[in-house]
Symmetry: C2
Subunit: 253 residues, 2 copies
């Protein structure tokens, strides 16, 4: 593991332990809190050619430094969300390693009844919320009850594509679960749905120093969905650790 990182932007540059990347992050930034939904940050790792996974797994792309950065970002969020497809692809946690600190609410968004809970690594103290459409089968509730006492289902309207309405879900996260900051760890469909609904405020992107190529059905891009009118972004900060870059952008709609 690289012992140190360098903040390259904003200037002046500074060396720091990798655990300090985003360590002083204050979100939401002053003056941009939304009245009825959380501040939404996307966090993804990508190859330099925009691929979000290697052999189906996002974890194969990032380094140990990337995993440290991911945990730092989780520590800044009230809730951490992924789409069910991301959970289906590999075992993952949506929490913090330290058991002594409050865990963020784990949120899984799914448009199907297929919820691979066997892949979710969850501490007993972490709450889990599954976001799905109104007409999703009742089995989801039973499956969840078997999985954990601290798990519940949030049913929201369906969009035309059949996916759960994410604005409605975000409003419920804010109103009913006190979530002011939401970290979204993919996958590409959830990212695209949030951006195309103008609901994503920031993108934290780890640029892994590799090229992968591949057809998009096998090798997903970080955004999976139809062309967007170009969404412009401001570069907020940039850190480097060895050849890996950590980019923070604010999205403008």
């Amino acid at each position: 593991m690289t012992a140190s990182a360098t903040r390259l932007y904003p200037l002046p540059p500074g060396e720091m332990p990798v655990g300090s990347i985003y360590g002083d992050l204050k979100v939401p930034p002053r003056g941009v809190q939304h009245p009825s939904r959380p501040y939404v940050m996307l966090n993804m790792v990508s190859s330099v050619d925009g691929k979000a996974a290697m052999e189906g797994k996002s974890s194969a792309l990032g380094s140990d430094v990337d995993r440290t950065v991911m945990r730092t970002l989780r520590s800044k969020a009230d809730a951490v969300m992924v789409g069910a497809g991301t959970l289906r692809a590999e075992k993952l946690s949506l929490g913090l390693e330290e058991s002594s600190v409050p865990q963020p609410l784990a949120v899984i968004a799914t448009s199907t009844a297929d919820l691979p809970l066997e892949n979710l690594i969850k501490s007993a103290s972490q709450e889990l919320l599954v976001v799905t459409a109104q007409d999703a089968p009742a089995e989801i509730g039973h499956q969840l009850a078997q999985f954990s006492e601290r798990a519940s289902v949030l049913r929201v309207s369906k969009t035309r594509s059949g996916a759960p309405d994410l604005l409605e879900a975000l409003e419920s996260l804010a109103a009913d679960h006190g979530v002011q900051t939401l970290l979204v760890e993919g996958g590409p469909s959830v990212n695209h749905a949030l951006i195309s609904s103008t609901l994503a405020d920031e993108l934290f992107l780890t640029l892994a120093p590799m090229l992968l190529a591949g057809a998009s059905r096998d090798a997903l891009n970080i955004l999976d969905g139809p062309s967007l009118r170009a969404i412009n972004m401001d570069l907020l900060s940039l850190h480097a650790a060895a050849n890996e870059l950590f980019l923070r952008y604010a999205l403008h709609y």
Copy 2:
């Protein structure tokens, strides 16, 4: 146009006019000259999610600073190559703006007889070489002769996919045209072919501060082709101008 850029890496950072980005580039680097082919640099512009074009045009992605950087890179190369698909997409030049300096050799690689020369902006003094397969129709030669006196055809073997063999083309560029440094400006298929044949030495990537998404048939990635085993890269330098980043990587095979 942004008047100045900042080198962020390697440290220390430094402000400079945008025309100085890569102004002191020395290629090939000492000790890495290939015995029988040119040193190959890819130059591409990409959205942060890896898309190489907006509405089919790569030029819509980059800023004026990107175009300045592109010209600086051309001034360091003996030849500038694109695939015919890139020329088909939009009008472009493969030369320098100043008429007083020697122009790089313009090279177009094509696996079909469809050569949209009407899109090529070429000064009278610039030589043009079209690389194609041995069995390409003789019309290409006639079409070229009509287009310019300073144009010729280089016929090379075909790969299994029917594309011209790029190693053979590079060896001929070095042996018969004195090309020691080749700048390749895409498109995604040519980039992929060069990387998958371990022929690309460096990648210069302009990261445009935008998200585009889109299916890969409409919105090409910077690499178009089957999955590669992960090609690792070293970050050589990093410049910023406003929110646009200019990344220089060395590829390792």
